[in-house]
Amino acid sequence: MHASIQQQNADKLSGQVPGSASDQGSTVAQRIAHIDDDPDIRDTVRRILEANQYAVESYQTMNDFMVSLWNSTNPPDLAILDVMVETMDIGLEAYVEIHKRFPELHLIFMTSLGEEIRPYFTGLSDEWILIMEKPVEPTSFLSIIHSRLENNES
């Protein structure tokens, strides 16, 4: 199941961003990785982002995303992490790990618990962590994504 989702996304991605380096300057879609175990949330995020010209890579588990990220030479521009996927706080562990290896990669948390998950962010409090509460509300969701990616460019 996991493998098939990833495979499907990878195929799609290679179609969308061919030979990424040579395409610079043209309108290359910004790539966003989305990790969530809920297929309905994955589908919603994908529809909203793709309708707004972003390329989306969806992953069902944090492990799938990390494996793909470690093997990739071209990490995405932004990743939206769920907090509770395989285990209760895998999202937090993954955050620390990813931030260490890819400090440039923008990370956003999206969780049902919203701000209530913040007490679990011990040791990360000095960093500015963005937490979005589910459900996905297209307007505010897009404005957050947009402002984050804009910051990245400047």
Binding site: D40, T44, R47, L113, G114, Y120, P135, P138
Partner: protein, 511 residues
């Protein structure tokens, strides 16, 4: 093939015990030892003071002291005072200003203090009178302290040391005890057991027995106390772990309950945002109603978690900080402003900032709930007034949120802080009411020792005042009217603009 063995053995209850805590607690932690070493040092300054006083007394009334058998002419009080003073300075130096190593540990520091003190006490006992005065009984203090702070064996060493020192003083003062045995061998016919010698032996024996008994009793007692203390530490640790577990469970349950709702609402948002094609106004209206109810349920689920957390936080006093009330109110208004304007409710603000001590995010939760209630139960196209003021000549602060809405009925007013309480009138006006919001307010008020005053009139509105009885400092008054609201009326919290004087209900609650 994977094989996993599960076991639910009830005897495994002590799995949370800390390593080393179950032993009978022979050692105290360095932190406790350091505290005690400091206490010893302070106590010693007192003793040094007494010794100095004694010297002044000796200068004034030396004859009287000689008469009662206290010799002071050798200058021993000055010597002892000087030794104790220098020793005290060294203890402070090694304890606070030198790095703690194997040879400079708090335990060694206390040992050094006890030995030097014993030597000084022996000098004092010698000069004040080893038999004539009760000075030797001060040794008991050292034995008792050794029992409390050292292991049983170490305190026994101190006790033996005390016995030896006392015996040495007696031998030094009465060398005849020693020579008597020689006389006995030379001439067995002569009786050597003079009454004085018997007295000294008896005295030494009795006092030594007393020292041993004190050691035995106090060391037993201190073992009992230490075991209880460690059990208490264990119990606290287990409670703390249980609370962490409970919170994890609550978080898990909240997630499991809310996640499906979020998936449903995300899909609804797709339809509303026309990501699935054009939507007719009828469908949009139905969909919005579904979303509104689902939002209420989602809020209830999160509120249950919030309430549980607030109750657990009541014990935590470390989180208290100095909070500016204006900052908190501004944050809440930033958050809730859009909801108010969507219903054409105007928020008028008049703030005199003051600082209170409390848990910052809890105060935010409290005021957010109060303001969002005011919005929820206001009529459309009305105003909400938020006033912060210092009253009682600067002794307490008060924040009053006044709405013009459905109000609270007289018979409902005493119950509004009950968990899950909501009136049919309230439910009719605001379908998403969970009945938890005011329970949260109550819990925060309890945690932060705040008082709440409500005056309300049905179909006219409610004035909800939060009273902060302990102000830290009063910031320079700054009255401000919400921009863009010309001629907005300021509200006096003591006489809310409701006709509550006659028919309004007043309630002082939570404290």
């Amino acid at each position: 093939m994977a094989v996993v063995k599960f076991s639910w053995n009830p005897s495994d209850k002590n799995r949370f015990a800390l390593p080393g805590m179950r032993t009978n607690g022979a050692k105290l932690s360095d932190e406790v030892l350091i505290n005690n070493a400091r206490w010893f040092i302070i106590f010693r300054w007192g003793v040094i003071g007494v010794l100095l006083l004694f010297q002044v007394l000796a200068l004034i009334a030396s004859d009287e002291l000689t008469k009662i058998g206290i010799t002071h002419q050798q200058g021993w009080p000055l010597a002892v005072t000087l030794v104790l003073f220098i020793a005290n300075v060294i203890y402070i130096q090694t304890l606070d200003f030198q790095r703690h190593t194997k040879y400079n540990s708090p335990a060694i520091n206390i040992w050094a203090q006890i030995i030097v003190d014993l030597l000084c006490l022996s000098v004092v006992v010698h000069f004040i009178g080893s038999i004539a005065t009760p000075a030797p009984f001060f040794y008991v203090l050292h034995i008792a302290l050794a029992c409390i702070f050292f292991s049983t064996l170490e305190s026994l060493v101190v006790t033996v040391l005390v016995c030896v020192m006392y015996a040495a003083i007696l031998l030094d003062e009465h060398p005849l005890i020693f020579t008597a045995s020689q006389a006995l061998t030379i001439d067995p016919g002569i009786s050597v057991l003079s009454p004085l010698k018997i007295n000294i032996f008896l005295w030494m024996f009795t006092v030594d027995v007393l020292f041993i008994i004190v050691w035995y009793v106090v060391s037993r007692l201190s073992i009992v106390v230490r075991i209880h203390e460690h059990n208490l530490v264990d119990a606290y640790e287990e409670i703390r772990r249980a609370q962490v577990e409970k919170d994890r469970y609550a978080v898990l349950m909240t997630h499991q309950l809310k996640a499906p709702l979020d998936a449903i609402r995300s899909k609804i948002n797709l339809i509303k945002g026309e990501y699935c094609g054009e939507v007719s106004p009828e469908i949009r209206e139905v969909i919005s109603k579904i979303d509104h109810r689902a939002a209420g349920m989602a809020a209830l689920i999160l509120d249950v978690l919030k309430l549980e957390r607030l109750k657990a936080a009541a014990r935590d006093n470390n989180a208290r900080e100095q909070v500016s009330i204006e900052t908190v109110i501004r944050k809440c208004i930033d958050k809730l402003g859009p909801i108010a304007s969507s219903r054409h409710i105007d928020i008028k603000v008049s703030l005199q900032d003051f600082a209170v001590e409390g848990i910052p995010n809890q105060l935010e939760i409290l005021l957010e709930n109060v303001i969002s209630n005011a919005i929820a139960y206001s009529y459309d196209n009305t105003t909400i007034e938020i006033v912060a003021a210092v009253e009682g000549t600067g002794s307490y602060g008060i924040v009053t949120v006044t709405d013009h809405g459905i109000g609270i009925g007289e018979k409902d007013l005493p119950h509004i802080f009950d968990e899950y309480f909501y009136t049919p009138r309230a439910a009719l006006h605001n379908r998403t009411s969970s009945g938890i919001g005011l329970s949260i307010v109550k819990t925060v008020a309890e945690n932060n020792k705040l008082q709440i005053r409500i005056s309300s009139e049905q179909n006219a509105g409610t004035a909800f005042s939060v009273i902060f009885p302990r102000l830290i400092s009063v910031v320079i008054p700054e009255t401000e009217v919400h921009p863009g609201v010309p001629g907005s009326r300021l509200v006096n919290p003591q006489s809310p603009p409701l006709d509550s004087g006659k028919s309004g209900n007043e309630l002082a609650s939570t404290h």
